[in-house]
């Protein structure tokens, strides 16, 4: 049971990690929590669901469409909702309020256009599982974890090695100084939102496959946000560690104590951790971020 619980925890944590990275990425540059991110993930799930079921596209194409679609939506979200605020130098509180408004708007838009119906992905490989010595894990979980980490690693590599990546990292320290040095901050911010949106497409597709697709599914990202805070908002490795830590802790509490007190437990852990380490595990105020 211990190994089974650990594996399940890792599978859940992997999804948290992927979403937490998206939160952290935006936070590192603009210093606010993009609560509309959950809705972008939800839309990503709808895009890949409809590409697969209505258009009959193979999963790879659906995933690619979802990544592109979510990236575009995330970019539009920034251009339409946040860019005007940034121009007026609004405080991050207003960004957050605007983000919440966007989240509720998108959710209700889906209710109005698509309806409240629950959708499930066709059982491509969602049904298969690997059993070894009485411990089972779904093929989808393995694939989701592997793909998520590949995506996170690719992002990390991009941020560390490429010119644009270096510019993004520089901007995460001080965006004004960065633009004084000739970096086009408008493009840079747009790119960051596209990257976060791409990750949202991946997480939306996997979330939809693992569970179901419905308008309020984005609220699961609350957990991912908590994971990002535990890891230290703005820190990529922190988001990954925070996600896995939260997933595994939750699963162990559910399995060994009770799933009813699971959230009591994980949120107390969050409060306690923040009391001891106010910037999370990896967050160093104005130091190493992305």
């Amino acid at each position: 049971m211990f190994v089974q619980t650990l594996l399940t925890g890792l599978a859940i944590g992997g999804i948290y990690a992927l979403m937490a990275v998206g939160y952290s990425l935006v936070f590192s540059i603009l210093n606010f929590s993009n609560f509309a991110y959950g809705s972008i993930i939800m839309l990503g799930a709808y895009i890949s669901y409809f590409s697969m079921v209505k258009l009959g596209l193979p999963i790879g194409v659906a995933l690619a469409l979802s990544i592109l679609g979510a990236a575009l939506l995330c970019y539009l979200n920034e251009r339409l909702a946040y860019a005007p605020l940034r121009k007026r130098r609004a405080s991050s509180l207003f960004f957050m309020i605007s983000a919440m408004g966007t989240a509720i708007f998108l959710e209700n838009l889906v209710y109005a256009i698509v309806g409240a119906h629950f959708y499930a992905f066709p059982e491509v490989f969602t049904k298969r599982n690997i059993t070894f010595h009485g411990v089972s894990i779904g093929v989808l979980d393995v694939f989701a974890i592997a793909f998520s980490f590949a995506a996170i690693y690719a992002l990390h590599y991009f941020l560390q090695k490429s010119r644009t990546g270096i510019a993004i990292r520089a901007a995460s320290y001080d965006i004004q100084v960065c633009s004084l040095n000739g970096v086009n901050d408008k493009h840079l911010i747009g790119l960051v939102f596209c990257l976060a949106g791409g990750l949202a497409g991946i997480s939306g597709t996997f979330l939809g496959m693992k569970y179901i697709v419905y308008p309020t599914m984005g609220w699961i990202t609350n957990k991912a946000y908590i994971a990002a805070v535990i890891g230290g908002l703005g820190s990529l490795p922190g988001a990954v560690v925070g996600g896995i830590l939260l997933g595994v802790t939750e699963t162990f509490v559910s399995a060994y104590v009770s799933s009813v007190v699971r959230d009591v437990f994980s949120f107390s852990l969050l409060v306690l951790l923040l009391m001891v380490m106010p910037t999370g595990l990896f967050g160093r105020f104005l130091e190493e971020k992305v």
Partner: protein
């Protein structure tokens, strides 16, 4: 001032009701409190369709005592607060009785309005015992009735069917701690299953809105059950069965009438195949074929069971009471409904147990999911 006003509300409401119904009008107003939007709307919409169709038929034949029936339906969104608001509106509209709601929580909340106003409601699929009997005083609620059977019965049938027909010995239960429906079904299943000499090896709770059950399923897997009782709504049930299959749990899943939506199959896919659930009625029930034919002809799809049938049973009971009392006075109807005996309704002979306002000897149906379809297995009769 405030308390005086508050005290006057029931009075005013009752007055409105009396005036509304005694007025010499050509219509008989019957209310419907129903979830037309939200998670439960699948049943609610179908329930309203069925009533509209049935009432149109009755009206075409000249109505009841020469008067046309008018159905006033308001959306409760399956929410208790909204249910209370809707009931207040129905009472002030002057309905003589109310059909619905489908949810126990909404029904219990509604009694705060119907009791002082003395307007009866007949719940369609609210199966919690507390709907008709106040568990604090143990006395029956004067205006609360139902046309479906109650939780203990649903849990009892499932437990007996698992023990006697399927010959299963060890049960694991997963229930939603945030839902009265789910917790009560779980409790009564446990009691009856143990009475049958079998064992409940695991009983795990989760919170409403949960999506991932693998942690508790992993724990359940270790206790090796041969039946997995999941008294939840279709969304959770489908996810639980899918994830149980992922973890390689071989136990036979069983549930209650909350499963009876095509969503169970679309969401659960192959994982729900072979599972059993108790239902109030079924599309294959030979007694209701005429109704189903008409419904299909009119709406081009199947009624979502069991609410449409339960709502028509309720309509039959109200019409019977109106005919017997010769009027639409809500208080007289309330007294008459409590004495309903051997009334032929859509689903069969209907009797109200005056001690608890539940139907007596209401048969239950066992259904199975087979190759992506709900299949009728057998019919149980209450003892």
């Amino acid at each position: 001032m405030n308390s005086k006003l508050l005290a006057m509300i029931p009075l005013a409401v009752a007055l409105c009701a009396v005036i509304g119904c005694d007025k010499k009008s050509d219509t008989i107003k019957i209310g419907q409190a129903v979830a037309l939007t939200g998670d439960n709307s699948t049943w609610g919409q179908s329930e309203k369709n069925a009533l509209d169709m049935e009432i149109a038929k009755i009206n075409a034949k000249g109505g009841v005592m020469g008067k046309q029936i008018q159905l006033i339906s308001y959306d409760t969104r399956a929410d208790a607060t909204e249910g209370v608001n809707v009931t207040k509106r129905l009472v002030s509209d002057g309905v003589c009785a109310i059909i619905g709601p489908g949810q126990s929580g909404v029904a219990i909340a509604m009694t705060s309005v119907t009791e002082p106003a003395n307007v009866s409601f007949l719940a369609t699929s609210a199966t919690n015992p507390k709907v008709t009997v106040d568990d604090k005083t143990g006395s029956v609620r004067k205006t609360a009735f139902r046309t479906c059977f109650i939780d203990p019965f649903q849990g009892t049938v499932a437990a007996q069917f698992a023990a006697k027909n399927l010959k299963l010995k060890n049960a694991a239960i997963i229930y939603d701690v945030g839902s009265d429906y789910s917790s009560w079904l779980g409790k009564y299943f446990t009691t009856e299953f143990e009475k049958q000499g079998c064992k409940v090896v695991a009983s795990e709770a989760f919170r409403s809105g949960e999506l991932d059950f693998r942690a508790i399923l992993g724990k359940i897997k270790g206790s090796n059950p041969d039946v997995l009782y999941i008294p939840t709504m279709q969304k959770e049930a489908a996810l639980i069965m899918k994830q149980a299959a992922d973890l390689g749990i071989k136990a036979i899943p069983m549930g209650g009438d909350g499963w009876a939506s095509p969503d169970l199959i679309t969401l659960g896919g192959k994982a729900v195949d072979g599972s059993y659930f108790v239902n109030i009625t079924s599309l294959e029930d030979p007694d209701i074929q005429g109704f189903i034919k008409d419904y299909r002809a009119k709406f081009n799809n199947d009624p979502i069971m069991p609410n449409p049938v339960m709502a028509i049973d309720a309509l039959d009971v109200i019409i019977d009471a109106i005919t017997k009392t010769g009027g639409t006075d809500p208080a007289k109807l309330t007294a008459q409904i409590a004495q309903t005996k051997n009334l032929p309704t859509l689903s069969g002979n209907f009797t109200i147990d005056p001690t608890n306002h539940n139907p007596l000897n209401k048969p239950a149906v066992i259904q199975q999911v087979k190759d992506g379809k709900f299949v009728y297995v057998t019919k149980f009769v209450t003892q």
